[in-house]
Symmetry: C2
Subunit: 281 residues, 2 copies
């Protein structure tokens, strides 16, 4: 997916939010906005938005010295999600279709996203997910692919959401590799966040090798690419991964919440919509 | 009022919206965003946001050659508002407090604003205005000041809103000067828009001399300043005028809809709130 013109004001909005997490110094925040603005002419519109993340988030570290401004928010998100784990697990276990329920919960978990929007109510999302229909519903294809699959590559997105991903992985019960970002970027999950979410007990956790808030394949490690090319099913969480992989062939299923107008237009689904999309359909 | 850091991403959002009104050429729009971004380090945070309008809207004219991108939207807004004139006039005439009803209608009309937000439903706003309480309610002071006043200076804001302002001016029935922007800027009313709204039959229309989307006093004409300093009551419509005049002493009443988070914080009123504020209280 390309970068749309609407993404440009949004990059500055994201930079402001992240800068405020890194510092209270208004003067430094203004310098960060100035620096991000100076990069706007360099933004490649033919690349997916996560490609631009370094231009947006790099100045925050350079100017404040803070390399992980979302550290605290990520920790809170994981703790909040862990508090919902038991109830959601019960909902799956008592469901007439546990896979469908677990997929809905994992999709709802994608609401934890401090990049594209900053206000959400996880409890409300999770409750709604148990009843709400999918805006794009390729569940039957998902179910059949999962049934046949021996190996699953699961592309994580945000810290906290990871706990809800764990429920889907447990429900699927197959050999799963859970890939995370190589370094802290926005509130995306890293190896440490995945471990804190208990994913190490249900999957093999690995870094994709990519430092962007999305799986940009030509910045991923050879080890990851080998798995990406051979996995029977790829579960791709979130907008960032969709933006990077929407044109890829292969057995990819995109699970996400629609959080911005660009994705609304791209998928033809409403804002807030829950998506389970087979990349091949 | 100063410019807040949140205004900065919003300036780019406004530039994008306005650029799209001026041209369909995505390449030119990107050049406009690049140009606006290059001005971000020059934005004076100690000045009100309307001071920055030239940096935001200037590149649109320079790059597209279009000096009034909102011309068509302004015309549509006036026509839409004129269709509501009769019904709103009747509502005022049958009200137990015509001045209060007319003030509410004029405030609701401030929703027509393609700068701070771009989606609204005038009919819904006007209907709600007839029942909805004011979020800041200095109506008693307003009523008393209007009763005593001989001369009123009315600072217009957006084209279309002008038609609803006319109802308030007719209801007040006193000697009124209606001041508009000197040149087209965003969708703010000019002399031509005021005439199309029928204001010339109920007030003396004049330019404030200011080319910004707000009344920046040191860019206003001496003729306007003489009236500004001597009018018994000043009715100031909209966010842009509030941003420029919030620290002014004098018999100013701010009538507006709260449309952005910066005004929410500044006034302590909710987004969407209807404001009738005495500057002296």
């Amino acid at each position: 997916m390309k970068t749309y013109l609407e993404c440009i004001p949004c990059f500055l909005k994201q930079a402001l939010f992240a800068a405020r997490e890194a510092t209270d110094d208004e003067r430094k925040i203004k310098l960060i906005l100035d620096a991000v603005a100076s990069h706007i002419p360099d933004i490649p519109l033919d690349s997916p938005p996560p490609q631009t993340a370094r231009l947006v988030y790099g100045p925050i570290t350079e100017i404040t010295g803070v390399s992980d401004p979302f550290r605290e928010l990520k920790e809170q998100s994981i703790q909040t999600a862990l508090r919902h784990y038991k109830k959601m697990k019960s909902a799956v276990e008592s469901s007439i279709d546990p896979l469908r329920t677990a997929a809905g919960i994992a999709i709802a978990g994608n609401v934890i996203d401090f990049g594209s929007h900053q206000h959400f109510d996880l409890e409300k999302e999770l409750t709604a997910a148990l009843e709400k229909p999918l805006a794009i519903n390729h569940y039957e294809s998902f179910r059949r692919s999962i049934e046949k699959a021996r190996t699953i590559l699961y592309l994580g997105d945000n810290a906290g959401e990871t706990v809800l991903d764990r429920i889907l992985i447990e429900t699927i019960g197959k050999d799963t590799i859970y890939a995370v970002r190589d370094i802290p970027i926005i509130n995306d999950a890293t190896l440490e966040d995945a471990r804190k979410s208990g994913l190490d007990s249900v999957a093999r956790i690995m870094s994709s090798g990519c430092d962007a808030p999305g799986t940009i394949l030509d910045r991923c490690s050879p080890e990851f690419m080998e798995i990406f090319r051979t996995a029977d099913v790829i579960i791709s969480k979130g907008q960032g991964n969709l933006e990077c992989l929407s044109d890829e062939p292969g057995p990819i299923f995109f699970l996400l919440k629609v959080k911005c107008p660009v994705i609304v237009r791209n998928l033809g689904a409403p804002k807030g919509g829950m998506i389970l999309k087979d990349a091949r359909l």
